[in-house]
């Protein structure tokens, strides 16, 4: 197990290096620079600013310098807000996105797994068709349609929750619901498919023959195998929650990392863009590793293969 973790972390290094290089040159070859949009800056100050940030040096030298700083764990100062370090900006904005993501995730699991299990157990009855019909609708209803609809119903009409902002717990409800329902729909379908397959296995029949209660069969025997596809989906789902938060943050005016990133890209804030991309990439790599570990714990076959 520890060998697996070590190997995967070792693999992460070239991956991150490729990402850093790609992003670095992509941002630099794009037209415009961080100090172009400011019309108020006189030419000589702009030159000084660029010299201060090393933008006047040859591109390759800048690249080497950036990678060197990166190896020391230094993401550099933001070009747009020079008094802030990129890491400080990420540390301010990310907890907001994380709260949103974790809440949505909990909603998705709490609705999706029971929904899928009921559908699998009561197959081809209305208790199967209803949740599955709803989940198909949930998958096809994108967050940017669902979000405004929820605002319309729960803020404009019923005045239950505030339509935008991120100040207190009541602000959290609509955004997390918007983001969570989509994944709930997906998880419900995966759970149903996984459970249906597992329930046909011989060991389930054995357990039933031995007189185990259906509740015990469900929680003890079937859930372990049946939820494997769900676990596999968790990694991509979490990554999707992060990117999905871009849209949610722009619908509900939430000051999360997604909004910071889009603004930074518009502003050509090179270091902020690079820092955010690397941060997200690291996060996704770690999450995938965690998912693989959980999978290995649940599935003896996968454990042996590794």
């Amino acid at each position: 197990m520890s060998r697996l973790i070590f190997l995967r972390l070792l693999q992460a290094i070239p991956t991150l290096w490729v990402i850093a290089t790609l992003t670095f040159f992509m941002t630099r070859f794009a037209p415009g620079g961080p100090f172009d949009s400011e019309k108020v800056i006189p030419e000589e100050i702009k030159i000084k600013l660029e010299a201060h940030f090393g933008l006047d040096r040859p591109l390759f030298e800048q690249y080497i310098l950036y990678i060197q700083n990166l190896l020391r764990g230094d993401l550099g100062p933001s070009f747009k807000y020079p008094e802030w370090e990129v890491s400080e900006l990420i540390a301010t904005a990310f907890p907001v996105s994380l709260t949103l993501g974790v809440l949505s995730f909990i909603i998705a699991l709490l609705i999706g797994i029971p929904g899928g299990m009921i559908a699998a157990l009561r197959r081809n009855t209305w208790m199967d068709y209803l949740p599955m019909g709803l989940s198909m609708a949930g998958i096809c209803l994108p967050t940017f349609v669902l979000g405004p609809l929820l605002i319309f119903v729960f803020s404009t009409q019923l005045a239950l929750f505030p339509p935008l902002g991120w100040y207190g717990a009541s602000d959290w409800v609509l955004p997390s619901l918007t983001l969570g329902l989509f994944y709930a729909a997906y998880i419900a379908r995966l759970t149903r498919a996984g459970m249906l397959e597992t329930l046909q296995q011989d060991y389930i029949r054995t357990a039933r023959a031995k007189g185990a209660s259906s509740w015990r069969i469900l929680t003890k025997h079937a859930a372990r195998g049946g939820l494997l596809p769900v676990v596999t989906f968790l990694g991509p789902a979490f990554a999707g929650l992060i990117s999905g938060s871009f849209v949610i943050e722009s619908i509900f005016f939430i000051p999360g990392l997604g909004k910071f990133f889009v603004t930074a890209a518009f502003n050509r804030d090179y270091t902020m863009v690079l820092g955010t991309v690397l941060f997200y990439a690291t996060l996704i790599i770690c999450l995938n590793l965690v998912v693989d570990l959980i999978q290995a714990l649940l599935d003896p076959k996968a454990r042996q293969a590794k």
Binding site: A12, P14, T15, V18, I19, T23, M26, T27, A30, P31, G32, M136, A137, I139, C140, L141, P142, F144, V145, G147, P148, L149, I151, F152, T156, A193, L196, E197, A239, I242, S243, F246, V247, S250, I251, F261, V262, A265, F266, R268, V273, T276, V277, Y280, A281, I284, I285, N288
Partner: protein, 286 residues
């Protein structure tokens, strides 16, 4: 005695698909939406960008089937025109991803060994990339270029296609007909494209049907963030964005493009499922 009529693989699949009611309904909806998008802008007496400031925020009525927006533009024309853009982005970007993914996957699977290991290693590395971030970055940095939109979306959607094609190729290349072709001295290119590719069509079509909605969703997300199509042009994503902003004053602005978009995604997903059952009966779960 009548000789038993043999039926081809394609005919079999079509018969199975026809028996699937949901898939046929989806196919019908898709054809209808497609035709409406193709012909709608011509049927409407108003151009999609024609402004009429005397008739803003009009409810759906006989002149303006879907109502008008804040500049008095005809929503019917805008929705159907948006359909053209959204559908063509979906199809073209899927096509781009198809070409890249299938070629890559076939070469990797056919070559095998170290080449295969390295090529798949690359795919793994790319899988770890936060795609949406790169697409956003591309669109912001290089401007909202329509061609770039296709390429960017196509370039990020090919990975799964490559994996599927590779797995299939790995299985197929040990088959006897490939061995026979090799024994006859055919070139690798000929074996790849004349012998292997036709046998890969099934899974490719299935996955492509499922890629189209994914691509359309991505385009809509970009348009929603203000990075896709710009007004006065429209796509379903950009119309939904406008609709969401003016929802309180004119709910139909969200309702019509939203329904078209959701209905299309819905149908594509069902059609994809139906095709999977029809083309590959073994893989169907229940």
């Amino acid at each position: 005695m009548k000789p038993e009529k043999s039926s081809s693989l394609g005919k079999d699949a079509w018969l199975r698909l026809r028996a699937n009611r949901m898939a046929m309904v989806s196919l019908f909806i898709l054809v209808a939406v497609g035709l409406l998008s193709l012909l709608g802008p011509m049927l409407s007496s108003h151009a999609y960008d024609e402004q009429n400031l005397d008739r803003i925020f009009e409810n759906p009525n006989s002149t303006y089937l879907f109502g008008t927006d804040n500049l008095g533009r005809d929503l019917f024309a805008r929705t159907t025109y948006g359909g053209r853009i959204s559908l063509s982005v979906g199809l073209l970007a899927t096509f781009v991803s198809l070409i890249i993914g299938v070629t890559y996957g076939m070469i990797s699977g056919y070559a095998g060994g170290r080449v295969d290991a390295w090529m798949m290693r690359m795919v793994d590395v790319l899988y770890a990339l936060p795609f949406i971030i790169f697409v956003i970055l591309l669109m912001v940095m290089f401007g909202r270029n329509f061609l770039l939109l296709f390429l960017a979306i196509g370039a990020v959607e090919w990975l799964t296609m490559a994996r599927i094609t590779r797995a299939q190729t790995l299985n197929l290349k040990k088959a006897e007909f490939v061995e026979a072709a090799r024994a006859l001295g055919f070139s690798h290119t000929r074996i790849l494209f004349r012998h292997l590719l036709p046998n890969l069509i099934g899974p490719i079509i299935i996955y492509a049907t499922l890629t189209v909605p994914a691509v359309m969703l991505l385009e809509a997300v970009l348009s929603f963030l203000g990075l896709g199509v710009q007004a006065p042009m429209s796509s379903w994503g950009s119309l939904i964005k406008e609709g969401a902003e003016k929802m309180d004053a004119a709910p139909w602005l969200l309702l019509f493009p939203g329904s078209f978009f959701c209905l299309t995604l819905f149908s594509l997903n069902f059609l994809g499922d139906g095709l999977r059952d029809a083309l590959d009966p073994k893989s169907s779960k229940d």
